[in-house]
Subunit: 245 residues, 2 copies
DNA sequence: GATTCACGTTGACGCAGATCAAAGCTCACG
DNA sequence: CGTGAGCTTTGATCTGCGTCAACGTGAATC
C-alpha cells in the first residue's frame, strides 16, 4: 500500500527505544531501565519517509502508531468539496496515528514535510505491553490526553483569536517545542509553507504573510523566507495577553 | 471542594454498569456479561449535579473521569484576559474529564446545563481494571481517540466553514447524537443559550440568531426559543457540501 | 397580572481579513 | 546562465461577520 516507504533492516532496530535520545520526550517516558529494554521489542520496524510522502492516508486501516524519530510532519483533513485543513504539525518524539484508534481507520492524512524517519508501533502490541507495564499504560494515556488539550488550544486559536494573535501563538509554540528538543528557541527554519500555516491557523496565506511582515516592521522577529528569528519573545507574548476589550 | 455536589448513597450503586441502559454507549461497550459485572465496582459513587454547577474546574487536581448518566453539560476554557470558549457539549453516555490525564490537573471547566447525574470513575481504578480487562482497555482508547477526531471536526468547523455551515453542522451533530440515544432526530430542545452556541462555533450570538432565522425563513427548521424542529435534514446537509468555489 | 430579568431578535454600520491582481524571489533544471 | 515553477509579498477592493443599539419575549416572582 505504501510501496514508496522503505523499511529499515531489522538488525538496526534492536535497542530501539533504550538507546534513543528521544526517550525523554517520546513514549518511554517514566519507564525503568528494565522496562525500557522490553520496549525495544515494541518497535518492530522503522520507516524512512521522504518529503511529500504520506505515512498514512485518511481511510487507511489503522494498525500502528508512529513515533517520529527524525523529521517533521503535518496532518490534514479533506472535506468532500475539496476544502482542507491542516490539523497539526508534528516533530521528533511526537506520536502520529492516534486518530485511527476509534474507528480502526485513519481519520486524516500524515505527510512528511521533510525527509523523516518514524518508528512503527503496532497498536495491538502497544496495548499488550501496556497491560504489563503500568508506567507505559499511564504515559500513553497522558499522550492521548495532551493531544486532546492541544486540540482545545487550537480551538481557542481558531475561535477567539485575531490573525496576529494566532500567528504569535503559533511561533511561540514552535519555539517552545524546539527548545524542548535542544534547538534554539529563537532561531529556526519553518518546514511548512505560508499556505500550510494559514490552513492550520484558519487564515489565508496572504494574511499570514502580512502578519509576518508586520511583526518584522515592529521589530519582533526577522523573516527571511522560511528562516525565522525571534527578537522579542516578550513582545509576542504580549500580543496574546493584551486584548482590547 | 465541591460541597454543592451530592453523592448518592452507596447501596444504590451496586450493579452500576451492568444494569445501566447506557451500557451500549458508554465505557462498558464490548464487554462480556462477567466483565460487565466487574465494572460495577469501578463506579464508586454517583453525583447529582444541579444546573449551573461545576463537576470540576480548570486547575482542579485530576482524580476521576465522569460518565454522564443523565443530563447535559458544557466544557469551556477561560483565557487570562477573560475571553472564553466552549469546547464541547456532552450528553448521556459520554465521558468527561479526559483533559486532566495529561497534566494531572483539569484543563477546562465542566458545567451542567441541566440537572444531571454522573458516575464517578476514579482514574487509577480504571487503569487497573483495564490492565485486566482487555476489552475495557481497548474501548477506553477508542473513546479517547474519538474525542481527538471530534476535536479535529471542530477545528474544521472553526477553520474553514462559514457561519451557516457551522450552525447546520452543529444541528446535524446534535440530531445524530439524540438519535443514538433513542430521541427524535428532528425535534429537540437546546439546553444551551445562543451565546454558548456562538462560543462553541466561534460566532457571536447575534450571528447565531440570524442564522437560525435564515434557516427558518428558508423552511429548513422551525425555531421557538430553545425548541428546534428540523424540517429538511437534506437541506441542512446540502449547506455543508455545496460550496461556492 | 404587573414587574423584572435573562435571553433572543433585528437593524444599521464598520472593520478584519478574504479575494483579486500583479510583481518579486529562489531554486531546480536544461 | 536562462527559464520556469512554486512560493511569497504587497496593494486595492470587497464582504461576512462583529459591534452597537433598540426592542421583543417568556418565565419567574411577588
Amino acid at each position: 500500500m505504501h510501496a514508496q516507504v522503505t523499511p529499515l533492516s531489522v538488525p538496526a532496530l534492536r535497542e530501539a527505544c533504550s538507546q534513543c535520545n528521544l526517550r525523554e520526550l517520546c513514549l518511554p517516558v517514566g519507564l525503568s531501565p528494565e522496562e525500557l529494554g522490553q520496549l525495544d521489542e515494541l518497535v518492530d520496524t522503522r520507516r524512512r519517509v521522504l518529503r511529500g510522502q504520506h505515512i498514512y492516508r485518511s481511510g487507511d486501516p489503522f494498525e500502528a502508531l508512529y513515533a517520529i524519530k527524525t523529521g517533521f510532519f503535518k496532518t490534514d483533513v479533506l472535506l468532500e468539496d475539496g476544502r482542507d485543513q491542516v490539523t497539526g504539525f508534528q516533530m521528533a518524539g511526537e506520536i502520529l496515528g492516534l486518530d485511527g484508534i476509534g474507528t480502526e481507520k485513519h481519520a486524516c492524512n500524515a505527510i512528511a514535510l521533510e525527509d523523516s524517519e518514524v518508528c512503527v508501533i503496532p497498536f495491538i502490541d502497544l496495548e499488550n505491553y501496556s497491560r504489563e507495564i503500568g508506567a507505559l499504560q499511564h504515559h500513553f494515556h497522558k499522550v492521548m490526553s495532551r493531544e486532546i488539550v492541544r486540540d482545545h488550544g487550537v480551538m481557542m486559536l481558531l475561535g477567539i483569536m485575531r490573525a496576529e494573535e494566532r500567528l504569535a501563538a503559533f511561533l511561540l509554540n514552535l519555539s517552545q517545542r524546539f527548545t524542548a528538543r535542544g534547538y534554539s528557541p529563537t532561531e529556526f527554519n519553518l518546514r511548512m509553507t505560508r499556505n500550510e500555516i494559514g490552513s492550520y491557523l484558519g487564515l489565508k496565506l496572504e494574511t499570514v504573510s502580512r502578519a509576518f511582515s508586520r511583526f518584522q516592521d515592529e521589530g519582533l522577529i526577522t523573516v527571511h523566507q522560511k528562516h525565522i528569528q525571534i527578537l522579542e519573545v516578550a513582545g509576542l507574548k504580549k500580543l496574546l495577553s493584551e486584548r482590547r476589550n
